[in-house]
């Protein structure tokens, strides 16, 4: 852990932490939408409520944490130094948080003003981040599969942002352009090209490190990011020439690539040498099973497209890939990163005979395990709500609000413990 995150060039604590502390609130808001909008949320992926909830989870929650984490770990994952991390975080964080809120409001109220504001805030802040991260990562040679993945994921984010901005302008301006195929492409780049490739690039390092597993075999690890990128380029070509068969081929390739990665990670986890399952392991285990199901659904609907029209199909897929899959991977990472960062930034205050509190005292793993159990309940309810939203959308929303609130509470409590330990050490 120390090797991953510490280092003389560790950014100030506030740079990543500010993202981590606001992100869970967006999951709370997504749960609130489930309570308030109930059936509309699951009626179709194109309802204002569904679009708002999707982007509260992706732009509000996932993106914030991924950006905050990258600011912290780029130097140690790739030897790439992000210039002026405090300044970058100070610009990107408010832009992302306010932009995600404006985007959700814009979708909910079909309000061009909010959509324009979202475009400016998200477009501006993410351009700054992509520029800073790109400058840092493309300067270092691709000496490992992780570095190759990081580079490709930054490209994936850039395409996601560009396609998203175009759609925002089209929606706000009422342009007569077919948005649904582009929205599919935008989602594929966001979830596959950005989140998926980034997840793999990070997993190559953290899965062996956190769980004491064998390493990812080198050849597949080099090829996986390229396979995903090739599939996404094929999908983009299919969109440009309106070739449905080509799009289905690309979708199938994405699904197969994802399944290979998930299968490999499951195999490694089965060979882990750390006996006690902690909250990170539970989150990753759950996320792997959910991703397996979601990717099988993606593959099945590529082979047989009418499946995507089956009632609840897209709702179940969305819950599995976004909440049970990608978000769960991210939360599992948070439970390793946050206590370590708090501990690391207390180290300069340690004195002989007066060590700083251990990580488990700053953020206890039992709190993370409790929060995981409620998260699992929320996931099961959300999957069931996709099938019977009239009965279960409200309980699922309430449960998601509770577990996301608990996640925030755990992170905030860790921060309070850090401040208390700091005051104690300074006044001693």
């Amino acid at each position: 852990m120390q090797a991953l995150l510490s280092y003389d060039q560790s950014p100030p604590l506030s740079a990543p932490l500010r993202f981590f502390l606001t992100a869970p609130l967006f999951l709370v808001l997504a749960g609130a939408l489930g309570v308030l909008e109930g059936e509309a949320l699951f009626a179709s992926r194109w309802t204002p409520a569904a679009l708002a909830a999707t982007h509260l989870v992706t732009a509000g929650f996932m993106l914030q944490i991924m950006v905050g984490a990258l600011i912290q770990i780029l130097p140690v994952l790739a030897g790439a130094n992000l210039a002026r991390p405090r300044l970058i975080a100070g610009i990107v964080h408010p832009g992302l948080a306010l932009g995600a809120l404006a985007l959700a409001l814009g979708f909910l109220q079909s309000a061009p003003g909010w959509l324009h504001a979202a475009g400016v805030l998200l477009g501006g802040s993410l351009t700054v981040f992509i520029g800073a991260a790109g400058l840092a990562i493309f300067r270092v040679p691709s000496t490992s599969p992780s570095i190759r993945g990081l580079k490709l994921s930054v490209i994936g984010l850039a395409v996601t942002v560009a396609s998203g901005l175009f759609m925002l302008l089209a929606l706000a301006g009422g342009w007569a352009v077919p948005l649904m195929p582009l929205a599919d492409l935008h989602a594929a780049w966001g979830l596959g090209g950005w989140a998926g490739i980034l997840l793999a690039a990070v997993a190559y390092v953290v899965v062996p490190m956190f769980q004491l597993t064998p390493g990812y075999p080198a050849k597949p690890a080099w090829r996986f990011p390229l396979l995903l990128m090739a599939a996404l380029l094929l999908w983009s070509l299919a969109w440009a020439v309106s070739a449905e068969a080509l799009q289905r081929l690309a979708q199938a390739a994405l699904a197969v690539g994802g399944l290979l990665f998930v299968g490999q990670t499951m195999k490694l986890q089965a060979a882990r040498r750390r006996a006690r399952p902690d909250s990170t392991f539970r989150y990753w285990q759950g996320a792997l099973y959910a991703s397996l199901l979601a990717l099988l659904m993606l593959l099945a609907s590529a082979v047989h497209p009418p499946l995507a029209g089956v009632p609840a199909w897209m709702g179940v897929f969305g819950v599995l890939i976004l909440l049970a899959g990608l978000s769960a991977f991210i939360i599992g990472m948070l439970y390793k990163i946050v206590p370590f960062l708090l501990w690391l930034h207390l180290q300069p205050l340690a004195r002989p005979g007066k060590p700083v509190p251990p990580m488990n005292k700053l953020l206890a793993d039992k709190d993370g395990l409790g929060q995981w159990r409620l998260y699992l309940a929320a996931l099961l309810l959300a999957v069931a709500a996709a099938i019977r939203p009239d009965w279960l959308a409200v309980p699922a929303g309430l449960c998601l609000m509770a577990t996301a609130g608990w996640l925030w509470w755990n992170l905030a409590a860790g921060t309070r413990n850090y401040r208390r330990a700091r005051l104690t050490a300074v006044s001693a």
Partner: protein, 74 residues
Amino acid sequence: MTRQAERVVDGRFMEPPQPFVATMEMLDTLQPGEEMQLLLYREPHPLYRVLQQNGHGWRTELQDDGTFVVTIRC
């Protein structure tokens, strides 16, 4: 051969920061020009910086099983 084998830190199933500490300890025992190897399932960028600061040379090779073999020259 025996002496060479002794100069390997297999950090692949060690919890951080043990591989880093063990490597620095082994480096302390080497004479200038001698080499040691560190085995890890990740590329140790933090270690590279310390090696650079201390004037050590290194080369890294990624093997098929995912092991990074870092050969460090004292």
